[in-house]
Each structure stands twice: as structure tokens, then as C-alpha cells.
């Protein structure tokens, strides 16, 4: 029915110059805009990067009295993920700053645009920025704490939980930051909403990362279970966010 209607409108001449683009095309346009804007101003990446380094410095001071040894490996899985969570919180808070500046959010909503495309584009851009910061921060973490302990040789597998976790964080984070971006006291509110909701993903990713860092037999059982659950969380939550996004963005 919709195509026939579209044909009819073509004939009506007035909006002849508009051929409604496919959702993927709109997704690409939105994503390109986000990336171009961010790589030009770089305010989100730079602030997240500096914040991550500062968090590592705080960890350094906090652990300066801990005696090095294998226990450090058990702890560092959690430390890494607290670094990722707080850095992504900072990034998510600013993810809509460009949109809010000149009322551009409404400019987007005026276009015949599938709201899901907005969600996916913003989520993808958040994932990209988070990964860039993680690629810098995680090796830096191990550099600074190399004197404490060297992780097991399976440590490179840490990339998998990091990836799964970042996608989950960006998914849910985009929905929650769309909610909190227009409210008072938005940074506290985003953290207050974000941490409990992301808790299961965090729990699974920390256990997966710790298993990978310690290596040996622990890897076998916990890693697979944790990753499967983390991916499960991602799928459920991102689907729910995608469906709910339409209500939230046009509220």
C-alpha cells in the first residue's frame, strides 16, 4: 500500500524531488555526520581519553600499597571494567551535546526518518568512540601496572569481552542518554540509571575478563558461560532499546 501511495505522491509533483531514502541510507548519513563532527572537534574522544588516564592514575595511587602478585590479576579484571564504565558514562553524557546545541534534534525529527536509524547511528558512533578510547586506555593500564603482574598468555582474548561489553554499553547507554539529556541534573541521573541496568553485563564481562587474565583451567568453564550470557544480555537489551527508542526520542 505504501509504495502505491508513494507513486501517487510522485505524480502530485510537489515533493517530486524527494525519493524517500532507505533506512540504511539514512543510517549511513546520520553516522557519517556524527563521525565527521566528532573527528573535527574531537571533544568527546579527547575528554574520554584524558579521563581514562586520570582514572588509571587514581588506581595507581589506590594500589600503591597493595603487594604485587597473582591476586592483582583477579582485581584488575574489575578495575579495567570500572575504567570502561566510568569513561563511557562521561562519553554518553556528551553524546547528544551536538544535537542539543541548536535544536538539531528537532531538525532530525522533522525529516521523514525511521527513528530506529537514529538509534543505530548514535549507537554505532558511541561504539566507535568507546573503542578508540579503549584501544588507548587498556594497553596504558597494563603499561602502568606491568610491575604488579603480567597477565596469562590468554590475556589477548580480553578483546572479546571488551567488544561485547562496549556494544552493550553503547546500546543501552544511547537509550538512557536520550532520556537524561534533556532533564535537570543529567549526569548524575544517567549514572544512576546506567549502572543498575548495565550491572548484569558488567558482572558477566568482569568474570570473563578475569578468567582470561588468570588463564589456566579457570578459563575453560567461566569464560564461555560469561560470554554467552553477555551476548544474550546485549541482544535482549539492544532489541528492547531499539523498540522503545521511537517513544523516547519523539517525546
Amino acid at each position: 500500500m505504501a509504495d502505491r501511495k508513494k507513486e501517487k505522491l510522485q505524480e502530485s509533483g510537489r515533493s517530486a524531488i524527494c525519493a524517500r531514502p532507505s533506512t540504511f541510507a539514512q543510517y549511513k548519513t546520520l553516522l557519517m555526520k556524527d563521525l565527521k563532527q566528532e573527528f573535527r572537534t574531537k571533544d568527546m574522544i579527547v575528554s574520554m581519553g584524558i579521563y581514562a588516564v586520570l582514572v588509571i592514575v587514581v588506581f595507581g595511587v589506590a594500589l600503591s600499597f597493595a603487594k604485587p602478585g597473582s591476586e592483582f590479576l583477579e582485581v584488575s579484571g574489575g578495575l579495567l571494567w570500572s575504567l570502561v564504565v566510568f569513561t563511557s558514562l562521561l562519553g554518553l553524557n556528551r553524546s547528544f551535546s551536538h544535537e542539543m546545541e541548536n535544536g538539531c534534534m528537532e531538525g532530525m525529527l522533522l525529516a521523514p526518518l525511521d527513528r530506529g536509524a537514529v538509534f543505530l547511528a548514535k549507537m554505532t558512533s558511541n561504539v566507535v568512540f568507546l573503542l578508540i578510547v579503549e584501544v588507548v586506555a587498556v594497553p596504558l593500564y597494563w603499561l602502568f601496572f606491568s610491575s604488579y603482574a603480567t597477565p596469562a598468555d590468554t590475556a589477548w582474548m580480553m578483546i572479546i569481552p571488551l567488544l561485547v561489553g562496549t556494544v552493550g554499553i553503547a546500546g543501552i547507554g544511547t537509550l538512557l542518554s536520550t532520556i537524561t539529556t534533556r532533564t535537570r541534573g543529567k549526569d548524575v541521573l544517567l549514572a544512576l540509571l546506567f549502572v543498575p541496568v548495565i550491572f548484569p553485563l558488567l558482572y558477566a564481562c568482569v568474570s570473563a575478563t578475569t578468567a582470561v587474565l588468570i588463564g589456566g583451567d579457570v578459563v575453560a568453564d567461566t569464560l564461555m558461560v560469561s560470554l554467552v550470557l553477555a551476548v544474550g544480555y546485549d541482544v535482549i537489551m539492544i532489541l528492547a532499546s531499539w523498540i522503545l527508542y521511537e517513544f523516547v526520542v519523539s517525546a
Binding site: 532520556i179 543498575p196 550491572f199 558482572y203 560469561s226 550470557l229 523516547v248
Partner: protein
């Protein structure tokens, strides 16, 4: 998401059938919980604790373990937790209804339901806290059940902070409904993940184990009682909030 054309669906309102049975349900709740309380302490045998080097004949049974009274907390702890989940599920249901029809009444119902959930989660945390304090001698352990309730309480608190942070009614309704839905999806996942992933640091102590017949019956009795109390509280709060809203509406109509 078309507008609901035609007669607007029958909105939950004060004075409908639930309000007629609310007082009776309240009394039933009180009766059932007191019965459950008495049953927990006098009818159901205490759970066996650590072994004792010796045997004693008590009440026609050979007892070789410490008898734990502290486990009695469980008979109220579990039902209260169940009610809090059901209340959250109701809040999610009304949230979905609000998003579909944008009727304000559903937003009010969703907020009240999650308020009931908060009351019962706080009760769950209180009883859980007492049990942890005695069972493991510490005020808090990151044991799966406790952490899940903590996460649930945090989300519900976040719901109310969000509710007060947004002024515009339409936007507040949509945001709060979405959070109620996300919370209802998130909590079961919390439950599952914290149980399925064996946290290597300290193994999950599965205290409940099998429930004997009497224990199960007692829990069921208290649970029924708690559901009645929860329902009665919901209706009472709903009546009070509706009265306040009607007063507000009158104030506004008198102004212009």
C-alpha cells in the same frame, strides 16, 4: 502507534470492582500473614544447622544438628520479594499501556505500582540484611541474591529520581514508562547471570535447598497474605493519588 480511536478503553478508576473488594482483601491479607507467622514459629520444625557431636531425643525425633531459628526470617523474606517482582511487572504492564494509548491514568498506575514494588523491595532488603548479618556474621556480602535486590532497589530509586527531574508531564510519562519496562527486563537477567556465573571468589551458598512440605505451605500462606496486603495498599494509594489529582484539576478549572 495509532491513536486509540472510538471509545477510550475503560480506564482504571477509583470505585471500580477492585475498590469494592479492597477492604476485604486487606483483612484477608492481615489474617493470612498472622496465620503464616504463627505457623512459621510453632508448626514448622526449625531447620537443621551444623552437626552436633551427639544425639538427643526431642519431640519423638532424633536430633543431631543445631536447630536454627534464624531461618524463620525466610518465611517472610521470600513472599515479600515475590510481591516486589509482581508489583514491578504491573508497573511495566501499565507502562506499556501508557506508551500505546498515552492515557495519563496508566502513567499514574505505573508509578503507584512501582511505588509498591519499592516498599516491598525495601522490606526484602531489611529481612535479607538481618539474615545475612546472622547467617554469615557480616553486614553485607556480594552474594547473588542480595546484589540482585540491591540492583532492583537502585533502579526503582532511579525511577523516582527521574520522575522528579522531568517537569513536562508527557515526557515524564514516556520516560518513566520506558524505565519501568527496562527495569522489568533487567531484573530477571540480573537474577540469571548472578546465579549462572560461578563467582570464583566465594561459592554461592544455596541455603534454601529443598523445601519440606510444611515449609512450602507456610511460604505459600504468607505469600498469599502478602499479595493481598500489596493489592490493598495499591488501591489505597491509587485512591489517594486520584483524589489529589481531582483536587488539582478543580483548582485549575476554578482559576480560569
Amino acid at each position: 502507534m495509532g491513536k486509540s480511536k472510538g471509545a477510550s478503553p475503560k480506564l482504571p478508576e477509583v470505585g471500580q470492582w477492585p475498590d469494592k473488594i479492597a477492604p476485604a482483601v486487606a483483612i484477608a491479607g492481615i489474617v493470612l500473614t498472622t496465620l503464616g507467622f504463627l505457623m512459621a514459629f510453632f508448626y514448622v520444625p526449625p531447620v537443621a544447622g551444623a552437626a552436633v557431636d551427639g544425639v538427643e531425643l526431642i519431640g519423638g525425633m532424633m536430633v543431631a544438628n543445631k536447630l536454627l531459628i534464624s531461618q524463620k526470617i525466610f518465611y517472610f523474606h521470600m513472599p515479600v520479594a515475590m510481591v516486589s517482582f509482581v508489583a514491578l511487572a504491573f508497573s511495566c504492564y501499565y507502562g506499556v499501556r501508557f506508551l500505546m494509548t498515552r492515557e495519563w491514568r496508566y502513567d499514574t498506575c505505573s508509578a503507584i505500582a512501582i511505588e509498591i514494588a519499592l516498599v516491598f523491595v525495601v522490606a526484602t532488603m531489611a529481612t535479607g540484611e538481618m539474615w545475612t548479618r546472622f547467617e554469615w556474621g557480616v553486614w553485607w556480602t556480594w552474594e547473588p541474591r542480595l546484589t540482585t535486590y540491591l540492583v532492583l532497589m537502585l533502579i526503582v530509586i532511579a525511577y523516582f529520581v527521574l520522575r522528579s527531574a522531568v517537569d513536562e508531564p508527557e515526557r515524564r510519562g514516556v520516560f518513566c514508562s520506558v524505565i519501568a519496562i527496562i527495569a522489568t527486563i533487567d531484573v530477571p537477567i540480573c537474577f540469571a547471570i548472578t546465579r549462572l556465573i560461578p563467582s570464583s571468589i566465594h561459592p554461592v551458598v544455596l541455603r534454601e535447598g529443598g523445601m519440606s512440605g510444611e515449609m512450602g505451605m507456610c511460604v505459600a500462606l504468607v505469600a498469599a497474605g502478602m499479595f493481598c496486603i500489596g493489592f490493598a495498599l495499591y488501591r489505597a494509594r491509587f485512591g489517594q493519588v486520584r483524589l489529589a489529582q481531582r483536587v488539582e484539576a478543580m483548582k485549575e478549572s476554578l482559576e480560569d
